[in-house]
Amino acid sequence: MKSVHLPRNMEDLWLIMEQETNARVYCGGTDLLVQMRSCEVDPPVLICLERIADIQGIREEPDSLWIGAGTTHTNLLSHPLSRRCLPVLAKALGTLGSPLIRNMGTIGGNICSASPAADTLPPLYVLDAEVELRSRDTIRVMPLCEFITGPGETRLERGEILTGIRVKNGEGYNLHHFEKIGQRRALACAIASLAAMLHVSSSGVVKAARLAWGSVGPMVVTSTKVEGAIIGENLSRKTLEKAADLAQRAVSPIDDVRASADYRRIVSGNLLLRLLDARPQI
């Protein structure tokens, strides 16, 4: 790495990106700088986005919430809107890295890493997140699940940055659940995770369900089959055990230094049973 820039606004950013076509952007640096240290990547030029106000913050829109890609996890977590409207994301953020990592890392960075173990992704999938990509002259919007195409791969094009994420708020669901399995309570790369939003009626019947698993496939795993197995049923052990079986078949985990594929497969199912211990929130 030969140089690094710190643009204060979007105009500066486009100017630099025009002249430095091989530049890599970063915000918190908790991912990119670590990759550079281990020589996985060696960008000649870096651009730090942390000072650009336009890509920070969270605001309410008529039907959705817009989250600036440069918003740190801490700022997102502490914002009243996130706990109220996006509890499943808030729960995931609480498990991400550590307070220090959260003070620096951003939701945009987590998404663009497209790591199979990225903690914000399962919640963003169940929230039907859309990403907003901008270049100097273009704006593109697409579903997050289309933006990420493989482990570490996205549809981001040269000259573009991720500027924001749009999510529907979690209304309509009354059970927001996230669990991450890691080797310790913090600073843990997920071995497997589950994000779930359910609507459970007062009689205990599942009216709606969105589920997403992390770290058990090259990308986040969703399954209408598993969701279908619990919608219309009582949220009971029997229902969830059946669903757990299906979940095991929906995921495609690998062996790595943290866990075996077998373990990941089994717990992908088991994590559903935890929904019995989760309480619907009004």
């Binding site: 399995i181 230094v257 019995l276």
Partner: protein
């Protein structure tokens, strides 16, 4: 906040042995002022770095350094042929090259040394060194190493890949186990553990105009470092000076040369400039020393009433590519193999094996951590078999003073394991265990587990465990304490200040310390084996008592008093109560010559007198005279969905003689438990064919603040007659308890029998599913 209003001004307190006293080094550390070795830089600094083998076993054909040497900013590139002297380092066995000449034996073996103007140039140069090697098949585990015809890690070694084979036998250990009411057999496997100290291996060095090489190193053994460097590089001892500041953690991993010989070599080529070497975390994993992985076969015979009768065990320790302290680690493990129990007949066999794995050396709990898992699981298995409460079974068999331990050594010194177990039995965590277990939530199972453990202190026989204390009253009337043993966080500097303060009656603010420096302090052995406060402390007491007599004696002269008994030594002055006359210490010290103002005294740790006729293969170590003891109780919760294991509460009752400083005592116990919990649940240096799969903190997992429970630490206060103020070493015994206690708790919680650690969620879930 105004300083001093609510917190007592510690500098004006005369420290007293037996009372909690804050660390004397804490103020400098919390303000960022204290300089660790890693904080030494300098003008015109050079950086030195090492090219490492990258393959686990190979013959060196050529080390091509031309491209590296040509980079602007590279001063020198050195290889094995540039090493003067023997090019061999090691503590007991000089089997480790400073820079490999003929072959490499593990991935972290050093092949070339680069000196460069800055870190970026250094990194570039290292990447351009090309090592042409002929790979040799390697041995990567115990079975590999023992296979007939196995590749030899050290071809010239007389016993193949067996560094050391030894036997400890007591009673009729040779007799078979047939005929006992209960016979239990099990095999246990424990992994490699990394010290993971936060300050990695590092130092700075330079050569002075007179040729002397000066090193400032993060080291547990500055005096032995001199000897290692001298032997390795052919430098005369008097031409080497090693300064050892406070360490940012060590736990055994900085016992034995890490950077020292490489740095000294670099200094010889630096034209008088200061050279810095700092292993980053990945290099520390690759090249640093580790705890031995081990396989332990246990075969136990007992009576139907639970009385232990006979133990046969075969213990295999993987010492990696070089001996380091492998034989001694295994020896200590063997000496503890039967636990803190009476077992009349034992046959304990051990094989310490060379492999092409990373080098295993000293780590807190030195061979004992491994066998503690085995003997304490066996005890719980026995308790189940005979239908006895596990606490009652342990108390029944526990050693008392005067008993023989499993090595056949009679325990003549303080032996408090029974009292430790009794205290567990009285504690609410034990008494309330059934209710606590019954309160577990959905998908959680709770259990409690015991462990009775012990750990020897000191070097044992075969080499003197000695220290030379040096203490001075300066012309300004201050007390200057020359510590010969490194303080790596265990707090011996504080203990020494307490001892000096107590005997000399001086305020803490008037006592200064010189940390180990081979030119100013005196040889006192390594900071290891739970020995530093005991051995140096004992020497210090004698030196302080002599200094006290000197000071008071000079006061007598100046006050015209003819006996010392009539004089009081108070903060800053000597007083003659009868007449009310006083003289300032500064005044009388100013009249004393340097030899008068300095007192030196030596102490040697006592050794076992009646050495049993066994363990003859051990050159040093076996047997030990002094042991500390502990009983631990782990309250554990298992998650049935994930297999996750969480220690919810932890109780440790420790007997380590008298407690000199309750705060330091607790610090050591809590810290040891935390490392033990890591070892029990999440720490494993994973290896495949000699390569480390967990080479950083993202993959090698040590516990964080949310992973360690609230710990209760109680002390059994027993006066150890040979110890300074009755104390013994407490640094290590705590690390032996958590793995067996948690494994036993898992059995209690959900019936699973774990024989392999760490007890990861994956292993536990697999065991749950098998049930």
């Amino acid at each position: 906040m105004k300083h001093g209003e609510d917190v007592p001004d510690l500098k004006s307190v005369v420290p007293e042995v037996g009372l909690p006293f804050p660390r004397v080094d804490a103020a400098a550390k919390v303000t960022g002022v204290e300089k660790f070795a890693v904080d030494y830089y300098g003008d015109d600094l050079l950086w030195a770095g090492v090219k490492r083998a990258g393959i686990p076993h190979g013959r060196i054909r050529l080390v091509d350094t031309t491209a590296a040497a040509e980079i602007p900013g590279v001063l020198k590139v050195l290889t094995g042929s540039d090493v003067p002297g023997t090019n061999r380092q090691g503590i007991v066995h000089k089997d480790q090259p400073v820079l490999c000449d003929r072959k490499v034996r593990h991935c972290g073996d050093a092949v070339a040394l680069v000196l460069a103007e800055d870190q970026a140039t250094l990194k570039k140069a290292l990447s351009l060194i090309h090592v042409d090697m002929e790979p040799i098949p390697g041995v990567f585990g115990i079975d590999d190493a023992l296979m007939p015809g196995a590749p030899l890690v050290h071809e010239e070694h007389e016993n193949g890949n067996i560094l050391l084979k030894a036997t400890i036998q007591a009673g009729e250990g040779n007799a078979s186990l047939e005929g006992y009411d209960i016979i239990l057999e099990e095999t246990f496997d424990v992994p490699v553990q990394a010290h993971a100290f936060l300050e990695t291996e590092n130092g700075v060095a330079w050569q002075e105009p007179d040729g002397k090489v000066v090193l400032v190193v993060s080291t547990q053994a500055p005096f032995r470092d001199k000897w290692e460097i001298s032997h390795a590089l052919g430098l005369p001892m008097e031409k080497i000076r090693v300064i050892g500041p406070y360490l940012g953690g060590a736990f055994g991993g900085k016992d034995g040369a890490t950077v020292q010989c490489l740095l000294a070599l670099a200094a010889l080529h630096a034209g008088g400039r200061r050279v810095k070497m700092w292993w980053d975390r990945e290099e520390s994993f690759l090249a640093g020393y580790k705890r031995h992985a081990a396989r332990l076969h246990y075969h136990l015979g007992a009576n139907a009433d639970g009385t232990l009768q006979s133990l046969h065990c075969r213990l295999y320790y993987d010492t990696g590519a070089y001996a380091h302290l492998g034989g001694e680690v295994m020896a200590l493990g063997m000496e503890h193999a039967g636990g803190p129990y009476r077992i009349p007949h034992t046959r304990i066999e051990g094989w310490c094996l060379y492999t092409n794995n990373p080098v295993a050396g000293a780590m807190r709990g030195f061979g004992v951590v491994q066998v503690s898992f085995a003997f304490e699981r066996m005890m719980d298995l026995l308790a189940e078999k005979v239908g006895m409460d596990p606490l009652v079974l342990r108390m029944k068999n526990a050693l008392r003073k005067g008993d023989k331990n499993c090595a056949g050594v009679t325990l003549t010194q303080s032996t408090g394991i029974v009292e430790c177990l009794e205290q567990i039995g009285r504690h609410p965590l034990w008494l309330g265990r059934e209710r606590w277990k019954g309160e577990s939530g959905i998908f959680k199972k709770r259990g409690v587990g015991l462990a009775a453990v012990f750990n020897a202190m000191g070097y044992g026989r075969g080499l003197p465990d000695s220290a030379l204390a040096k203490i001075e009253v300066t012309p300004e009337g201050r007390i200057l304490l020359y510590s010969g043993v490194s303080d790596m966080g265990q707090g011996n500097a504080t203990a020494f200040s307490q001892i000096a303060g107590q005997i000399l009656g001086q305020e803490s603010g008037n006592i200064d310390l010189v940390q180990p420096d081979t030119e100013r302090t005196l040889p006192s052995g390594s900071a290891a084996a739970s020995r530093t406060t005991y051995t140096y402390g004992n020497a210090l007491i004698r030196a302080c008592e002599e200094l006290r007599r000197r000071i008071v004696g000079r006061a007598a002269l100046m006050l015209l008093v003819d006996t010392l008994d009539d004089l009081e030594l108070l903060p800053g002055r000597v007083r003659h109560p009868a007449s009310g006359r006083e003289i300032l210490i500064a005044t009388l010290a100013a009249t004393m010559t340097e030899p008068e103002r300095i007192c030196i005294s030596q102490f040697l740790m006592p050794v076992v007198k009646d050495v049993p006729d066994t363990g003859k293969e051990f050159k040093i170590g076996f047997p030990h005279l002094l042991f500390s003891y502990a009983a631990h109780l782990a309250c554990v919760e298992v998650d049935e969905l994930t297999g996750g294991v969480v220690a919810k509460d932890y109780l440790a009752v420790t007997e380590a003689g008298r407690v000199i400083n309750p705060q330091s005592f607790e610090q050591q116990v809590q810290g040891a438990i935390a490392q033990g919990i890591g070892y029990a649940t999440c720490e494993e240096v994973q290896l495949r064919n000699g390569r480390i799969l967990t080479p950083d903190f993202a993959t090698y997992i040590i516990p964080g603040a949310q992973d360690i429970p609230e710990m209760t630490s109680l002390a059994v206060d027993v006066y150890e007659t040979s110890g300074p103020y009755g104390m013994k070493g407490v640094g290590e015994v705590g690390s032996n308890g958590p793995l067996p206690a948690i494994a036993n708790a898992l059995r209690d919680a959900c019936g699973i029998h774990m024989t392999q650690s760490p007890l990861t969620a994956e292993r536990v879930l697999a065991a749950l599913q098998k049930k």
